[in-house]
């Protein structure tokens, strides 16, 4: 059944422009006890503007995969292309490719010495944008993520959810064509998380960015994604790719739909299946 789904998804993809293409990616960590195979033979295509969720148990390599996509970790083998251009060449990253990416981590990772506006404007600062331009853009971005009025606050004055909003605003600063998110709402309480998911869906719709979203919550993955990629550990492999056909925009009520429940249940079964 999953094979069938994967084929359907591949068919759909053929007609779309490719945002990210991962082919044959391996990641091996040397340790004292020998080598650890974190990822093995990962092949994945993410369409331009598509929202893909990566789910799996801890240790399945989903964060490793995202770090490779983010340019923070070199793959041991295989290639990563973004917009048709290779992102990793012989273990060296092509900064020009990664400049198009926006990253959001599990921790907001805001710099405590910068105000919210300065944090949000940091990517622009690194590109040489002037003070006034940064200020204007930061105010726009703060409005986008619902942080208007907090531009001059320091991160320590914000709650966890607000910090994560600021981190998302920072990732959006340079209008990235790809947004990579590593369990961005994992540290938030359930209510805040639901609200952030709704807002992320809207940001995705408005910006048209390609999103790869790592989470360990299957309902969250299904709620957000066009396709859910399920990874299994030791070594990290893609077990199945499940398309989510639920119409957008999705409201919180979608979780009570039969189709939503079926997809979640199907993914749970896949996750629990022993090889």
């Amino acid at each position: 059944m999953t094979q069938d789904m994967a084929h359907r998804a591949a068919g759909e993809l053929a007609s779309r422009a490719v945002g990210i293409r991962v082919s044959g990616v391996d990641k091996v960590y040397p340790t004292r006890r020998g080598e650890v195979h974190a990822l093995s033979g990962i092949d994945l295509e993410v369409g331009r503007g598509e929202f893909v969720s990566l789910v799996g148990r801890s240790g399945c390599g989903k964060t490793t995969l995202l770090r490779i996509l983010s340019g923070l970790l070199a793959p041991s083998a295989g290639t990563v292309e973004a917009g048709g251009r290779p992102a990793w060449v012989a273990g060296r990253r092509d900064d020009a490719v990664f400049a198009e990416f926006g990253l959001v981590f599990q921790e907001a990772n805001l710099f405590p010495w910068f105000t919210v506006a300065e944090n949000v404007g940091l990517p622009l600062k690194l590109r040489g944008a002037g003070r006034a331009a940064r200020r204007t853009r930061a105010a726009e971005l703060c409005a986008t993520v619902g942080l208007s009025g907090f531009e001059e606050s320091y991160p320590r004055e914000l709650s966890g959810g607000m910090r994560q909003r600021a981190a998302i605003a920072r990732a959006l600063a340079c209008d990235p064509s790809v947004l990579l998110m590593d369990e961005p709402f994992g540290a938030l309480d359930a209510l805040t998380r639901d609200r952030m998911n709704l807002e992320l869906q809207q940001i995705h719709a408005v910006s048209g960015a390609t999103v790869v979203f790592v989470t360990h919550s299957i309902p969250e993955a299904v709620f957000l994604a066009d396709r859910v990629v399920l990874l299994t550990p030791r070594p990290g492999r893609i077990r199945s790719v499940v398309p989510v056909g639920l119409v957008r925009p999705r409201s919180a009520g979608v979780e009570t739909h039969a189709e939503f429940g079926e997809i979640v249940a199907g993914l749970r079964r896949e996750l629990d299946r022993e090889d």
Partner: protein, 303 residues
């Protein structure tokens, strides 16, 4: 890009589950909530806590002076062992009436500041290098530990032999004492740049200089100041001890010459002066810290 619809309440209303983080305090400042960096600071209490030192300081000073006067006039401690506060006061006035006092203050101040300055530059440089170059740090570790455990004040006679009785030997003593707290803190600071913060800069493709300016420098500054707060006190100690043991000018020399003249009130007056000088220098460092790193927790939760 349009504004995302916000289903939540306006944060200023303060009862939003998510927003609990920041809300204006009684005095208009934003106070952090429980769970934030300052868990002791719900609004009403923090005002009281902030004012407490301004009340307790004068009270303790009054108690000290009262007890002192009591010991002299009621218990009858000898004038030579413990001169009365009034006698010390008039000795102090006498010192300032004389022509030489500013010269002594100036020399000591110069020695302290020069020593502190050298320690700051050397400490930051060495600390930054050792923090980054791990093998070098391992290599010099034994020497550092040895230097650190040696009572450095014991070097004063050697410095006097090498650099003479002038200010140079005192400056070097002050610098040597002040160097270690700065160097060790900076070494720690350079290493404790958060990994997540580094990921942000790497993800943005930031170069070396941009990473230094925006990340490494600001995240090390709190450590520099933590070291400097200790170091300024140490450099006063270094300069004074230097003057005690081999000086011809400065407040330390003045203290020793008062002792030799068996002039207890003047000795006490010099010590009062040294206490004031040390406090002012410490205050200068903490003020600089407030101005340079206002965002840091140590600034927001202090007094």
């Amino acid at each position: 890009m349009t504004t995302v619809e916000r289903s939540e309440q306006v944060p200023e209303q303060g009862n939003d589950a998510e927003v609990g983080g920041a809300r204006p305090g009684v005095d208009g400042r934003v106070a952090t909530s429980p769970g934030g960096p300052d868990p002791t600071g719900p609004n009403g209490e923090s005002v009281w806590m902030r004012r407490l030192p301004w009340v307790s300081g004068p009270v303790m000073l009054a108690l000290l002076l009262g007890g002192w006067q009591f010991a002299v006039s009621v218990v009858g401690v000898s004038e030579f062992i413990l001169p009365a506060p009034a006698a010390v006061g008039s000795a102090l006035a006498e010192l300032f009436a004389g022509p030489e006092i500013w010269g002594h203050v100036g020399i000591t101040l110069f020695e302290v500041l020069a020593g502190f300055g050298i320690a700051l530059v050397a400490g930051v440089t060495v600390g930054a290098v050792l923090g980054r170059v791990v093998w070098l740090q391992r290599a010099v570790q034994p020497a550092l530990v040895a230097l650190q455990v040696v009572p450095k004040v014991a070097f004063v006679p050697i410095f006097v032999i090498w650099f003479g009785f002038g200010p140079t030997s005192k400056i070097i003593m002050a610098a040597l004492l002040a160097f270690f707290p700065i160097m060790l803190n900076v070494m720690l600071g350079v290493r404790s740049v958060e990994r997540g913060h580094r990921d942000v800069m790497r993800g943005l493709g930031a170069g070396r200089w941009a990473t230094f300016r925006n990340l490494e420098l600001p995240s090390t500054l709190p450590y520099v100041f933590a070291g400097a707060e200790v170091a300024i006190v140490f450099s006063v100690i270094g300069a004074i001890v230097g003057e005690y043991l081999g000086g011809s000018a400065g407040l330390g020399f003045l203290a020793v010459s008062s002792l030799n003249a068996l002039d207890a009130p003047r000795l006490f007056a010099v010590i009062v002066l040294l206490a004031v000088l040390g406090s002012l220098l410490y205050l200068a460092v903490t003020t600089a810290k407030r101005l340079v790193i206002p965002w840091h927790e140590s600034v927001s939760t202090a007094v």
